[in-house]
Amino acid sequence: MSENVTALGEPAQAPAAARRRRRAFEALQAVALGAGFPILLVFLWHLAVIQTGTRLIPSPRQVGVMMYDFAFGGVYDDAFSATILTHIGKSMQRVYGGFFLAALIGIPLGLMIGRIKLLRHLLDPTISLLRPIPVTAWLPLSMIFFGLGPNAAIFLVFLGAFYPILLNTIFGVRSVDARLFEAAAMLGCSGSAMFRQVVFPAALPAIVNGLRIAHGFAWILIVVGEMTGVPTGLGAVIMDGRTLSRTDLVVTGMIVIGALGFLTDRIIVMISNRLLRWSPQHHG
């Protein structure tokens, strides 16, 4: 009896184990390729700096030293030593201040514009006129509105994040099958319950896409935002590096922004996969 079971069990298990091994190998390969390419780029950068003998561009080694000093101090012991957390904290405050403000206004407004024709006719032309203006063009006005300080940076991040969130939300609502709204109405759903229980979740896949694009813009705009004369923040560090001709500092700031943008994007993707696990279009 037991022989029979194992005889039947073995062939079914062996391919499963082999499949698992192959999947593990593929995952490892993806990581190796994904990490290997940037390492190759750093190596090419190193070669290029040595080959040309330039003093204007730092070598990867110099940037590494600067990064260490920025994080832990003890190398140059200047104004930037061991200040990384302060700058990250300030920048994140501004990125997420602007981002959440944009989401807080953009999502409800988008839901309403998508659903209410009158509001769409009222606001759509204005939005279409304002949207093509580059966010950087608002810089002088934002400094007049908000003065020299963090509020101007938050305003610029807000502007950059607002339009992708708003437009994706409107698009999301507009592309929902009208029958879902009919079905909800017939089941006794109306008014604000309709927005909360049907319009918002139905548009959520598009809203999440908008949030992800907006989040990317928010990190891009933080450098512009922190050009407005704030003393701290990763954008301010890059601007200081420029005025002090310290390119190692500039590149260090760039790398920190890139890494933070990447990590926070992964978090957003994780949250959205969890929220949209019902959607067959959102896996992985």
Binding site: D177, A183, A184, A185, L187, Q197, L204, S279
Partner: protein, 266 residues
């Protein structure tokens, strides 16, 4: 208001419908007068474009008639309401809700306590035999299961008029037959009034107490045929086939008047 005979659930009085398409006015429905009794199973049949879906959508309250009125239990219909439940051909389930949440959606709108909503949803999940799939999302279900959820969703909401717009049109033949039988069982058990739009003569004769044959341009009800066959009906019996031929003949005579006199086997 005209005095209604007893037991009338649904009365359609002089309903017409015109659409504006570009600059043309299209008459979708000429005058329709119709009375449907409590617990009746009525099939609307006709070629595409004869206005049968439009009539159903007016009864549901999704569209307003150009003239006339629809009365449910003597009260005029002005907007979608939970007394009438529409079952769509493409299901229209909420994809972000599980089977159980979809079915519990109506009770939840009535602000019932959470436990009561759970109980009602569970009861109607059982009615359509989806206990094992209660926590699945619609994207993980077959077409037949989705349509069961859609039916349970309107029944859980105490709808006493079921409006079905070609509900089994997208299903394969075997699943369709199975769902037809299940629908008849549910109808026998709950005694809801059903208006069922289809373009299959066989389906209409199998299911209905009355078959209303509609014709297009503009849409109107041409024939009102009572189906007196005993239930359960046997689709292979000579009696069934003679009724089916009769309905099919009346239907084709409206669809293609020029061929009305030609032999049936076109």
């Amino acid at each position: 208001m005209a005095r209604l005979p007893p037991q009338t659930r649904l009365a359609i009085r002089g309903v017409t419908k015109r659409f504006m398409a570009d600059d043309d006015e299209i008459e979708a429905l000429a005058r329709v007068d119709l009375t449907i009794l409590e617990g009746e199973f009525v099939c609307l049949i006709g070629a595409s474009g004869c206005g049968k879906s439009t009539l159903l959508r007016i009864v549901a309250g999704f569209e307003e008639p150009t003239a006339g009125e629809v009365l449910i239990d003597r009260k005029p219909v002005t907007c979608p309401g939970s007394d009438r439940g529409m079952v769509f051909q493409d299901y229209a389930l909420f994809p972000w809700m599980t089977v159980k949440q979809n079915i519990g959606f109506g009770p939840r709108q009535r602000q019932l306590p959470r436990r009561e909503v759970e109980e009602i949803a569970g009861e109607f999940v059982r009615l359509v035999g989806l206990e094992r799939f209660a926590d699945r999302y619609p994207s993980q279900l077959s077409g037949g299961m989705k349509q069961r959820v859609a039916i349970a969703r309107v029944l859980a909401n105490n709808a006493n008029v079921l409006l079905m717009d070609e509900p089994f049109g997208a299903l394969d033949a075997l699943t369709r037959e199975q769902l037809q039988q299940e629908l008849l069982q549910i109808w026998a058990r709950t005694r809801v009034t059903i208006i069922f739009v289809t373009h299959s003569v066989e389906e209409a004769v199998l299911l209905a107490d009355r078959v209303l044959v509609m014709s297009a341009g503009p849409g109107r009800i041409e024939n009102d045929i009572a189906i007196d066959l005993p239930r359960p009906r046997d689709v292979s019996s000579p009696e069934f086939n003679s009724v089916r031929r009769d309905v099919a003949r009346r239907l084709t005579s409206h669809i293609a008047p020029a061929h009305a006199l030609a032999p049936a086997g076109r």
